[in-house]
Amino acid sequence: MLNLHARASALSSLDIKERRLAKVTCNPSLPTPLRSMSAFLYEGQCEEIPEGFAVNLYRNGIVPQKTSGTNNIELSADQYFLSEGDVVRINPDLKVSVIYRRNASSNALLVTEQCNSFCVMCSQPPKAHDDSYLIDDWITAIPYIDESCPELTITGGEPTILKEKFFELVNTMRAQLPTTAIHILTNARNFKDIEMARRLASINHPDLMLGIPLYSDVASIHDFVVQADGAFDETIDGIINLKRYGQRIELRVVIHASTYERMPRLAEFIARNLQFIDQVSLMGLELTGFARANLDAIWIDPADYQEQLAEAIEILVMAGMTPIIFNHQLCLLRPELRKYAVKSISDWKREYMPECEGCSEAHRDCGGFFSSAKHRYSKFITPIRIAT
């Protein structure tokens, strides 16, 4: 597991009055005008530390003969993975947050921790405090990101509650990163206002998809899962409005104790009512946040819902839709379902268990576990052995 947030230590006097965003570079002769927005990562490439960078970062104890100037900091050991092109946020207290990793297949833009829902299994529990700096940072940081970046995910909290700032971010992304796909994770409740859908569509992004959770075909069950009365109707209205404006939509169904039984009925509901949806993702739990607090109430061993999962997948496939299974270890899925599974767990939180020893798929096609799975995982993990 990689640590995206860690405390660094000072190697010299500091002059960091407020948080700074900086793009990591190993180039000591970076043109001076770019240095104030860059963090110089020292790896022994020069005798003297060049001047003018926002900060100078050191790791593995590699430091030059003499350090000079200010803002020299030693990274925490679990952030030694930093490399050229990454983007960091450095707080005055030396907390270093890696907000973008150039080599990651996908990066998430956490734009707010506030949310209008309160899902029983939320892995990123909402916080009520003012965190408007998050979206401001992202609007600032977009130009630091490589133009070749394949995909960025906007997530929260609920990104759309930021209204103007949300649209500003998407606009900035379209302008600065025109070939980067955007995935927006939203409960779509705010799109019940068709003007919101119209505004998003008017940005005319060439490769944008919204990932929208739908947990049940029955309003009361969905509302229970998201702990918000009326949320189902708002999400359905939002989906219809977004489609009216031709937006691409992925439905995201998290499977747990309250949702697994009606999964085939939900699949029928989607096939019958929402056939214009572009992708349906069926997802395993991530046991952090509320999912951990509510673990006993929401846990079901994936081995115990294979029948419902298989039926739901079959219904969706027959309706010509595209189902994808997220966050499931391959050995738990029936063999005929494995082709729908993708390696979805981000590399920085992906792990394997002792039972995976000797499995031909571990580290290959199997997406493994969230690091949080240490709290509980299926009793049925068994190595898959393929003769070579």
Partner: protein, 487 residues
């Protein structure tokens, strides 16, 4: 237990306890105990009579999986959610969309001449008189011009007869002219020749290859049955059609040729042999069709020789054999069941001409006869051959498109063909899967709506709907196959 910050499911179910309202629904007995209940867009459930009574009397308790199913499938709604209303609206619009597309199938009768003398034939002539029974180039020009007046984005031109290949030069001419016009109109344009294949030359095959023309033929079953149903001088009809199907499969590809069968009294005992004939030709589709009450079929007494119930037994037996073949690994679809399953299981409307409301006459399919007469359907042309010209819309040489398509008899028939307002149909749970056939009812009852209690159309279709729903309920293996057909 959820941690204390969270509310239980029962909290979110409270509003459901205040009672529910019915959305538009219909129910009809499936058998002696069970009822089919369907909503306005064809989603259905099979329920016991007692449950139906509780449902309509507002006695159903919330919080049960039955309640959730009825709510999810839009039979009821309650204060907890209004989402059913916009979704039903969307689905209803989707089901009706194609009525707005207007005429898609354009049938050209390029000649009435034919080398066969089938007793069930409705229209053919055995004659050498080309002038009297062939379509002229002038008539063809006017017909092609009229085709492109239809706003439908996909247009299919079907050549019929008689035997259309007896006037192949005109087919070539029409295809060329339609392609030329389509450079301007840019429709999805397709062609099919409905032919007995007797005159399938290399020239015809190369032409079909070059212009993407499909071929549709008649195959009634094994040689003895086929040759009896479809007599031809030389008695070699079956051999000719089988050889030529194989030839097309080899030269153009398997999917470019399809076959249709017509059911006669002799067919009734041979459904498995008929289907085997299709399998041995590696065909993957069969259409178990009833005999229609027009033309020679009526005059020669064929239509009276078996009734709808006997045909239904034939159909059920055939379908069961087709399903068995699928279970044993040979993929073959029965077309009529496929159309009905699509209506039952998907939000789409397959748009089959005989199962539409409003009826498909003229606004889904239209016929240009060899002599320039325009008919509202293929059956309307057959009715005319029997002396009843009610559904002749006009003539290409005399009447304008507007005059023909606003023909009073046509307008009246279409208006009265809307099933939701037809007596009997309006209360039938199978309404979303059915349609109306004004020409059939006029031919058999001299009334475009018809008394459904006496209607063979109604009896046949309800028999099929009941049978398919029963299979879906009782035979898991059959259900999977039928679901696959619908997808």
């Amino acid at each position: 237990m959820l941690s204390r910050k969270f509310k239980d499911l029962s909290y979110f179910r409270q509003t459901e306890e205040r009672g529910y309202r019915l959305l538009p629904l219909r129910f009809t007995a499936l058998d002696t105990e069970r009822y089919v209940v369907s909503n306005m867009v064809g989603e259905y459930l099979v329920l016991d009579r007692k449950v139906i009574e509780d449902l309509v009397e507002h006695r159903l308790a919330a919080g049960t999986s039955l309640y959730d199913d009825l709510k999810s499938k839009h039979f009821i709604y309650d204060e907890d959610s209004q989402a059913a209303l916009p979704l039903l609206g969307l689905k209803y619009r989707t089901k009706l969309t194609q009525a707005s597309y207007f005429t898609g199938l354009h049938i050209f009768v390029v000649t009435l001449r034919c080398d066969y003398s089938c007793p069930y034939c409705q229209v053919s002539r055995q004659t050498d008189d080309k002038v009297a029974f062939d379509m002229s180039q002038d008539t063809a020009d006017r017909a092609v011009d009229m085709v492109f007046l239809s706003p439908n984005p996909s247009i299919k031109i079907e050549f019929q007869g008689g035997e259309p290949l007896l006037n192949f030069p005109l087919i070539q001419y029409i295809v060329g002219r339609a392609e030329k016009l389509n450079e301007t109109f840019k429709r999805d344009l397709r062609f099919v020749i409905a032919t007995n294949l007797s005159f399938l030359t290399d020239e015809v095959i190369e032409f079909c290859a070059a212009h993407g023309v499909d071929l549709s033929t008649s195959l009634d079953g094994p040689a003895s049955l086929h040759n009896k149903n479809r007599p031809r001088p030389g008695k070699n009809g079956h051999q000719l059609v089988v050889d030529n199907i194989k030839r097309i499969q080899r030269r153009l590809g398997k999917h470019r040729v399809s076959a249709l069968m017509t059911t006669t009294l002799e067919s009734l005992s041979q459904v498995r042999e008929i289907i085997d004939e299709y399998v041995s030709l590696q065909l993957n589709e069969i259409f178990l069709r009833p005999l229609s009450p027009y033309g020679f079929a009526v005059r020669t007494g064929q239509i009276d020789r078996y009734d709808t119930d006997r045909w239904l037994d034939f159909f059920k037996d055939g379908l069961s054999y087709v399903l068995e073949l699928n279970k044993h690994g040979y993929p073959i679809r029965e077309i009529y069941s496929t159309i009905v399953m699509k209506k039952m299981l998907t939000p789409q409307e397959p748009g089959y001409v005989d199962l539409r409301s409003p009826a498909g006459i003229a606004i889904a399919a239209i016929v240009y006869n060899y002599d320039g007469d325009v008919y509202a359907s293929d059956e309307a042309r057959m009715l005319a051959e029997m002396g009843e010209h009610k559904f002749r819309l006009g003539n290409l040489h005399r009447d304008s498109y507007e005059t023909m398509l606003s023909n009073d008899d046509l307008m009246d028939a279409i208006e009265s063909s809307i099933t939701v307002s037809s007596p009997t149909c309006t209360d039938c749970a199978f309404l979303p899967y059915c349609g109306s056939d004004p020409v059939y009812h006029f031919a058999t009852q001299h009334d475009v709506v018809g008394n459904k209690a006496l209607s063979g159309y109604c009896r046949k279709n309800i028999g099929i709907f009941r049978h398919l729903i029963t299979l879906m309920e009782e035979d898991a293996g059959a259900r999977r196959i039928l679901q696959r057909w619908a997808s």
